[in-house]
Amino acid sequence: MDLNSLTIHALSEKLSKKEVSSVEATKAYLERIGAIDDKIKAFLVVTADEALRQAEEADKRRAQNNNVTLLTGVPISVKDIFCTKGIRTTCASKILAGFIPPYDSTVVARLKEAGAVILGKNNMDEFAMGSSTENSAFQKTANPWALERVPGGSSGGSAASVAALECAASVGTDTGGSIRQPAALCGVVGFKPTYGRVSRFGMIAFASSLDQAGPFTRDTIDSAIMLKAMAGFDPKDSTSIDAPVPDYLSEIEKGVKGLKVGIPKEYFIEGMDVEVEASVREALKILEKEGAVLVPVSLPHTEYAVAVYYLVATAEASSNLARYDGVKYGLRVNESRNLLDMYKKTRDSGFGGEVKRRIMLGTYSLSAGYYDAYYKKASEVRTLIKNDFETAFKACDVIATPTTPTPAFRFGEKVADPLTMYLSDIFTISCNLAGIPGVSVPCGFTKGMLPIGLQILGKPLDETTVLRAARAYERAAGGTLQAPAL
């Protein structure tokens, strides 16, 4: 079991010292998945044979000292939103049941190139639409810290798989908090890079102006290692940023002495969980003790972020999901009178309730007569939200907030009213609308042993400072790695 709880950097050291082989590490993780995943249900597909083949390859690479990286031979998992060549990719939707991508997403290709071993594909909310992973068409993932509670979402399977020690790290996507929120709820580190930092090629699209891939890891050093492997310009993604990727590890231990940490009053609100607030305030004190200067800042349009998000994201989704029509891939309902009938029957039976609801909302708000009042208005308010951050970052280097207003909630608790579920993302959504980087780092537990997350947001393309601040907190808080009893 020891092997399973190692960080990437600790495992990588053991691999380089030949204390353990990648095949051994991969077998240990596959055994762990076999032993506990019927309780957690973090995986939709486990690719054991392929993983062992990749592990043998990685061991060879290390033996020959051929292009070895810190990730060579490290077993990870990926959210089922990333296309994986020859391996079923469904986005947790019935409409993509049986879809076998003929190519790898850039993220997966780069991780394979670095030598990472892919153990399988993680469960998620269908098409990444949700905050609890309850919207998966196939299974519900349990929070490893409390099996009757949700792991968060939409990358719930990824977060749970890292927390449950079923992999060394995982990759998810974040459109409105889908990496940071489940990371907070499962007690792991989740990083959302600047929009455009990581290629979206081969990542199944939900809301194209907001979607961004990022890692789930046991600590911030691992986050830097994963990010370095994933990031960088890709000619196959027209929104990919052509900027050099810094060596995140070289600055990560620099500490926060003199660093200005903005504290926005709009993120400490009436109605948030008292234990969450207390833990986050305690974390801020630790940062201050480490030499950071806490600066009060204001992000006055925060209260409009959820409304903007649910108009912008659904509008983009209604357009992106038009491609699922039963023609080129995925499900087709055959007993149709004609083409139009086939489209409608296929989409009606292939999409789940939340996906249909969002397609409807997006279609409605883009339709003739409503475009100005909804989509255009929301895009204008998005500018105000982006400007809030630009103004705040004139007075500080990073911004620290709670990641979520509450710890993990129970299954079914927020299913009946979509709006209540949407509001669980209030602290994570603005970051996507502004396109800036953000991380969630574990900052303690409630009395009932539910994890709590501290969110640190940074300036565009300044992942380095975000990681540095997160690491300073992690190190000072003495975060010995904690794993749930399963």
Binding site: L339, L340, K344, K356, M360, S367, K377, L384, L419, A434
Partner: protein, 95 residues
């Protein structure tokens, strides 16, 4: 701005969704509540504010006009529910 069942049916048709009677009622109620909530955006005066659709500067990306390998037809067709003669097959379009 409240949404009627007629609006829901219109949006469903545009979105190529066939909703059951039950879904029509459910979505009419739920979408109304969500639209009431987003109505709060009208509190803000956005006169003269340029919309943000992307947070990175977008420019038209052109590549050199050179031929290069692409997905072979048989692979592109490999997930098709129905195909033949190197084409996707669909039900009759014109009666």
């Amino acid at each position: 701005m409240s949404i009627t069942k007629k609006d829901v049916l219109h949006a469903a048709d545009l979105a190529r969704l066939e909703l059951t009677a039950e879904e029509q009622d459910l979505y009419t109620g739920q979408l109304s509540r969500i639209l009431d909530y987003v109505e709060k955006l009208s509190e803000l005066d956005t006169t003269g504010v340029a919309p943000t659709t992307y947070t990175v500067p977008l420019k038209t990306v052109l590549r050199a006009d050179e031929s290069r390998p692409s997905l072979p037809h048989e692979e592109a067709l490999s997930n098709a529910p129905d195909f033949g003669r190197d084409c996707f097959k669909v039900p009759k379009i014109i009666e």
